[in-house]
């Protein structure tokens, strides 16, 4: 069983402010509780299927220039850098 404190901690780590407890913590709690059904699936010994893509199947590792100055579409930039607020 998940605790409300755990949910609040994850929200904070994801930079989400939880100001409406009923809307966020309570509903997330109900959703995660539903996932407990996975415990009865009996899949402990199941292998996880991973699709392997050989490196030869990937496109060439080559810079493809975009036809516009994309950075100019941003609201906050300086030269070729994105501007961000100061980190504490």
């Amino acid at each position: 069983m998940v605790t409300e404190e755990e949910i609040e901690k994850v929200a904070k780590l994801m930079k989400i402010e939880v100001d409406d407890h009923k809307e966020y913590v309570d509903k997330v709690h109900a959703m995660i509780d539903y996932f407990d059904i996975l415990d009865s699936a009996g899949v402990e010994d199941e292998e996880i299927f991973m699709q392997e893509i050989p490196i030869t199947a990937l496109r060439e590792d080559k810079h493809i220039p975009f036809d516009e100055k994309l950075i100019e579409k941003l609201n906050h930039y300086k030269g070729t850098y994105v501007r961000a607020p100061k980190m504490s």
Binding site: V2, E6, I7, V10, A11, L13, M14, K15, I16, E17, V18, E23, Y24, K27, V28, A30, M31, I32, Y34, F35, I37, L38, D39, S40, A41, V43, E44, E46, E47, I48, F49, I53, A57, L58, R59, F66, E68, L70, K73, L74, N75, H76, V82, R83, A84, P85, K86, M87, S88
Partner: protein, 481 residues
């Protein structure tokens, strides 16, 4: 002007000179103007559509080569990028985002002279199944405006059902094309994973989502697939379909085909009207020479929990980019520390997106991944094995698209688990990468019911043939608008 015609009929009418692209587009825009205030299928309408249609008419008259769409008005779910057009994902976060490039599906349709009549409403970032989570208000079901049209591609299905366009593109992560298609009595298609490029589709859950057509007929879906499928160097997950012609042989029928009826998708809780319609569809297919028998996919019971665990995890990662620096709602940088700035920006996500981001941070986190995320991946693996085994015996599988009838707007919005369970019959195709289609089949007390058919990966053509055969067995009432 008859706006109720299919895509193939539209092309024929324009080719024969019976209608012009301009007249059809003008009539479509007028219809949207008259009806969309009530239905809210669109988030934006293309103001330049008439000029584009006029240009296509000029090409036709001058004998120049014209693309296969001949100016056909198509709506596009607002999570696909059209260069120099707003793409909001029905979110306040992207309220002012203008796409700098075309999605691959858009480039392909432009080459075929399609007209993008407008951007269709949806649940915010495609998270939802009623369109009630659109930041701009829900779409309404044209069969009864008090009811949800389904989602997340609700605007796409409404626009096709209510004749506000000839066809639409939606995206399907857990049923988001098939669910609204079922609720609005249109055809909705989720292709084999990789058949259609996702380049330019705003990402939600990359490993399972696909773009898919919403159309009035199965043949129209095949027609659209002929134009939008195939390898794309910009999407490494695309598969080479060797330029398959999905219309060729579409009337082949189902004689001799073996069809498995998925037991777990007709379980307790399925609406009796939906059970009755499904049984009727099975009888009709048997009447056409198919052999139908029950098959069990045990993991279906756990599929919704696995689906939401996996999609929330991928969404948590995908949505991390909305920090108001590269994308997002604009406000000044001054006076903020980095974390508080991003926290403020993220308040522009709606409640469902916020909840799924929190879940997406929680279920794969250290200490919880074994209980949730890894177990969900194991369910996905076992479900894939089960369905692969089923396809060794059967050509197709059948089930209701949605186990319940369309429900009233607001009825389930405060109960997230009740909403989860509406997806129970559709997520299997996404988790396993199989193609699936919803075919309009019945109307019960004025509300549509769709039947879902599934096929093995890359057997999209066989699936369309069966869907076309099923579609021919019924004549449904017209949408009461």
């Amino acid at each position: 002007m008859n706006l109720k015609i299919s895509a193939l009929s539209y092309v024929q009418e324009v080719q024969n000179g019976n209608i012009s692209a301009e007249d059809f587009t003008a009539a479509t825009l007028e219809h949207i103007h008259n009806i969309d205030e009530k239905l809210h299928a669109f988030l934006s309408v293309n103001d330049n559509a008439i000029n584009q249609a006029r240009d296509i008419d000029k090409k036709i008259k001058s004998g120049k080569k014209v693309g296969a769409c001949f100016g056909m008005p198509i709506s596009i779910k607002d999570n696909m990028c059209i260069k120099d057009s707003k793409t909001t994902c029905a979110s306040k976060m992207l309220e002012n985002f203008v796409a700098p490039y075309d999605a691959t599906v858009i480039s392909k349709l432009k080459e075929q002279d399609a007209i993008f009549i407008g951007k269709a409403n949806m649940d915010e970032f495609a998270m939802g199944l009623t369109t009630e989570f659109s930041a701009y208000g829900p779409s309404k079901n044209p069969w009864n405006v008090d009811y949800t049209p389904g989602g997340s591609s609700g605007g796409s299905a409404v626009s096709v059902s209510a004749f506000e366009c000839v066809a639409s593109l939606g995206s399907d992560t857990g049923g988001s094309v098939r669910n609204p298609a079922s609720f609005c009595s249109t055809v909705g298609y989720k292709p084999t994973y990789g058949l259609i490029s996702r380049y330019g589709l705003i990402s939600y859950a990359n490993s399972i989502e696909q773009i898919g057509p919403v159309t009035r007929t199965v043949k129209d879906t095949a027609f659209l697939l002929n134009m939008i499928t195939g390898l794309d160097p910009n999407d490494n997950t695309t598969v080479d379909n060797k330029n398959e012609d999905y219309l060729l042989g579409i009337d082949s029928g189902v004689e001799g085909k073996k069809i498995g009826i998925i037991k777990e998708m007709m379980a307790e809780g399925t609406d009796p009207a939906v059970v009755s319609a499904t049984n009727d569809a099975i009888s009709k297919l048997e009447g056409l020479g198919a052999i139908c028998e029950e098959v069990s996919l045990d993991m279906v019971k756990y599929s919704v929990a696995a689906y939401y665990t996996i999609t929330a995890t991928e969404a948590g990662s995908n949505l991390a980019r909305y920090d108001n620096l590269r994308y997002g709602y604009d406000f000044s940088l001054e006076g903020y520390e980095f974390n508080s700035y991003i926290q403020k920006a993220r308040k522009n996500f709606g409640p469902e997106v916020t909840r799924r981001m929190i879940i997406g941070g929680f279920v794969p986190s250290a200490g919880h991944a074994g209980k949730y995320f890894l177990k969900a991946l194991k369910v996905k693996s076992k479900l894939t094995k089960e369905i692969n085994d089923a396809f060794k015996k059967y050509d197709l599988l059948i089930a209701p698209t949605v186990p319940i009838l369309p429900f009233k707007l607001g009825e389930k919005i405060d109960d997230p688990v009740a909403l989860f369970l509406v997806d129970i019959n559709t997520v299997t195709a996404n988790l396993t990468g199989k193609p699936a289609i919803s075919v309009p089949f019945a109307v019960s007390n004025g509300l549509p019911i769709g039947i879902q058919l599934l096929a093995d990966s890359n057997n999209d053509k066989i699936l369309l043939q069966a869907a076309n055969a099923l579609e021919q067995t019924v004549k449904l009432p017209e949408v009461p608008i």
